[in-house]
């Protein structure tokens, strides 16, 4: 199978993730879209590793997973904290940092 197809899939997934991040208001959905984008890049990394015949991409994919796991823990706890205090999970409502 042509490895380029994997790349097309990765680009597609990334685009879906990015669109979700930019368009959705629910923090949980946004979060999942971020995960989607991360996994899209992981797929791209692994594909490139396969194409070039070395393990660099695969190693980085592992790193990304580890970082993503940590990020999920931190991100989810922030979302829960916001939800507890503001009774909403909409990212647009958390606008205390505006001018």
């Amino acid at each position: 199978m042509n490895p380029a197809n994997y790349l097309y899939l990765a680009a597609l997934l990334f685009t879906v993730g990015a669109a979700g991040v930019l368009l959705r208001r629910n923090a949980i959905v946004v979060f999942m879209c971020v995960e989607l984008m991360l996994n899209a890049t992981n797929l791209a990394f692994v594909t490139f590793a396969r194409m070039h015949g070395n393990y660099d991409g695969q190693v980085i994919a592992f790193f990304t997973m580890v970082v993503a796991a940590a990020e999920v823990v931190v991100g989810l706890s922030i979302i829960i904290a916001i939800f507890r205090s503001r009774r909403t999970a909409s990212v647009d409502d958390a606008n205390l940092m505006k001018w």
Binding site: A18, V21, L22, V30, A94, N95, W99
Partner: protein, 666 residues
């Protein structure tokens, strides 16, 4: 004018300060070791009275007087020692301590006592002591008498420092010291707004003159590298004619400020707001003559610049007439005397500008004037003391019966000042008129005529003062126009002994000093080693000048007699001609100062303030407002929507990637 004269003279060849005998001195030994005491005694008095505060109230006036008299006796001891010394040993130098010693800048605190300073020491401490004694009585009811004596002592110390300093920098210290004392004493009754204003006016106008002295000292230092008398005035100082002229004109400016000479004369009349003993001591006998001292002391510098000397005589001539004209119209007895002082000092300045022909006579007139003008002021104070502090001569009249001693002493002072034959003023003023003619040339005639006319005017205004005060109808018995309901007739009475005694002593001085001075030319011979002397060549004989002077005096007195003795003196001043009105307003000196200096100064400051607010502050403030405004607009970009931040991040990243790709492709 200064500018053009300086540039005109700067083309002149190198000139040295020759003409005078130069100033040389020997170190102080023997009695002269005590020279510093003359200054230290009154300084001690001032320190004790000012620092001791209310605790010294009880004996303050006695202490002050005692120290002034003590200083006088030290002066007498020095004088007798100087009489015994030979001419070469009469000029002594006492080094006290080094003041500032940095590289080539050497400032020393040291005293220089010679024949000229000796005259001043005796005049200052002598008249000063008498006025201290007088003040004991005059200020008896003033609750701040102790402070008054402290200031008087401070004045004596500063004035003595001024005349005893052996370099210009130390002289400057004394110069500022007397200015300070003068300010404090003019404003002594500072609860009166007029006194406070007068003090400020005197202080500010003096500051203009002091600037001249400061610049003169700077010039001396840059030209000669020193400001000690020994070197600057030794007769070997080398500089271009223009430099000498510059230094001299700056010294003249200083003299004008301190001695109330044209154009810095306006403060003296207002200075009469101070207590009368102050007017007698500071604004008649001593401080205002500091300018004459300065010019005479700097004879070597002035001799080197005929241009500057000409300016000095012009200033003197203008002031002689100015003061005399103003004096003719004043109804306030002290202001009339103040105008007279200005005029008489004009005589001295004029004489000092004549060079070696006139220096000695300037100082001689200064001393005799010190006697009779101090006496006249003390007399005026005595009259005011007996008349509930009334100063308007139109409210006097016929006082000779009530105050016989004041009348006689004032009368003798009056005869002396108008130059009644054989009294002090006759000799000293006559000599100045002679010297003015002896200058030679057109300027000699002009100056001689001015002094003659002024002699006539002097006789006129002083006769007027005399007649209005002591003769005629007793106008003080009638209530003045617009008198308050509780007005009561004053009860003129003779003043206490502490006041009459100094007046009597000064009257003796007014009568005999001049005669003693001209006897065997003793005064001129005394000063010649310091100031030099030359006869000049007069177009008239001595007798002709004397005859003219006496005739002018008689004429002036006669006119005054016709106006003020033969006719009734109106209780309210009549309208008068435009000259009278102008003279009453001091020839519009305040209006001129206001128009020429004050208003432009105010406009300048207003313009500068505007420039500062609109220009500099406007630029700085505008820049800040621009940045502030812009940033408050740019701030709106921070919407607080996380998604829009994400979009911009995404857009940015996309751009970077696109740019990288394009770079790769190209």
């Amino acid at each position: 004018m200064t500018q053009t004269l300086v540039s005109a003279a700067s083309g002149a060849l190198l000139a040295t300060g020759e003409g005078g005998p130069g100033l040389h001195s020997v170190p102080a030994t023997g009695v002269f070791d005590a020279t510093w005491l003359v200054i230290a005694l009154p300084l001690l008095g001032a320190a004790v009275l000012l620092l001791g505060g209310r605790r010294t109230n009880r004996f303050g006036h006695w202490l002050g007087t005692l120290l002034a008299v003590g200083s006088f006796f030290v002066g007498l001891a020095l004088f007798s020692a100087m009489l015994d010394a030979s001419d070469a040993d009469r000029s002594v130098n006492q080094h006290l301590w080094d003041w500032v010693s940095v590289g080539s800048f050497q400032a020393e605190v040291g005293l220089h006592l010679d024949q000229l300073s000796m005259v001043f020491v005796l005049l200052i401490t002598g008249v000063g002591s008498l006025i201290h004694i007088y003040s004991i009585g005059y200020m008896e009811h003033d609750e701040n008498r102790r402070r008054f004596f402290a200031y008087l002592n401070l004045f004596l110390a500063s004035m003595l420092l001024l005349v005893l300093a052996n370099n210009y920098l130390l002289l400057y210290v004394g110069w500022e010291g007397v200015g300070l004392a003068s300010y404090l004493l003019i404003g002594f009754w500072q609860h009166k707004p007029s006194a406070a204003t007068a003090a400020k006016k005197a202080f500010l106008m003096n500051r203009v003159g002091d600037l001249g002295l400061a610049v003169a000292i700077f010039l001396m230092f840059t030209t000669f590298g020193t400001f000690s008398f020994d070197q600057v005035l030794s007769g070997n100082a080398q500089a271009s004619g223009g430099t000498f002229t510059g230094i001299d004109l700056m010294l003249l400016l200083a003299a004008c400020g301190k001695s109330a000479q044209f154009p810095l004369q306006a403060w003296l009349g207002d200075a009469m707001e101070g207590p009368t003993p102050v007017s007698a001591l500071i604004h008649a006998a001593t401080m205002v003559t500091a300018g004459v001292y300065l010019i005479t002391r700097s004879a070597e510098l002035f001799n080197a610049s005929p241009d500057a000397q000409l300016v000095v005589t012009i200033v003197g001539a203008i002031t002689v007439l100015f003061g005399a004209i103003v004096g003719c119209a004043k109804d306030d007895i002290k202001k009339a005397l103040a105008a007279s002082t200005m005029s008489q000092i004009g005589y001295m300045i004029l004489a000092a500008g004549l060079g070696p022909i006139g220096y000695a006579f300037a100082i001689m007139h200064l001393v005799t004037h010190g006697f009779f003008k101090a006496g006249l002021f003390l007399g005026a104070g005595s009259v005011m003391h007996g008349m509930n502090d009334e100063v308007d001569m139109r409210r006097y009249g016929g006082l000779r019966k009530y105050m016989p001693i004041t009348f006689v002493t004032f009368g003798l002072g009056y005869l002396a000042i108008i130059g009644f034959p054989l009294l002090s003023g006759y000799f000293s003023k006559d000599k100045i008129i002679e010297a003015a003619f002896a200058k030679g040339g057109t300027s000699g005639y002009v100056l001689g005529s001015v002094t003659l006319v002024a002699a006539g005017l002097t006789a006129y205004y002083m006769t007027r003062v005399m007649l209005m005060t002591f003769f005629g109808r007793e106008r003080w018995k009638e209530a003045p126009v617009g008198a308050p309901a509780d007005w009561h007739e004053p009860h003129p009475h003779e003043s206490p002994k502490s006041m009459t005694l100094p007046m009597i002593v000064l009257a003796f001085g007014s009568v005999f000093a001049g005669g003693l001075f001209v006897l065997h030319d003793s005064f001129v011979n005394w000063l010649t080693p310091v100031t030099g002397f030359s006869e000049g060549d007069s177009p008239f004989s001595e007798y002709a000048v004397t005859g003219m002077a006496v005739a002018m005096v008689a004429l002036g007195a006669l006119v005054a007699y016709v106006q003020y003795a033969r006719r009734e003196v109106p209780a309210v001043a009549p309208q008068g001609s435009f000259i009278t009105v102008a003279a009453r307003k001091d020839l519009y000196q305040d209006a001129v100062n206001e128009g020429l200096v004050m208003r432009p100064g105010q406009y300048l400051t207003r313009m500068l303030v505007w420039l500062d607010l609109r220009g500099i502050d406007g630029f700085v403030g505008g820049l800040a407002a621009f940045i502030g405004g812009t940033s408050s607009r740019v701030r709106k970009v921070q919407t607080g929507f996380a998604r829009s931040y994400a979009l911009s991040m995404f857009g940015g990243t996309a751009l970077v990637v696109a740019a990288t790709l394009m770079a790769r492709m190209a």
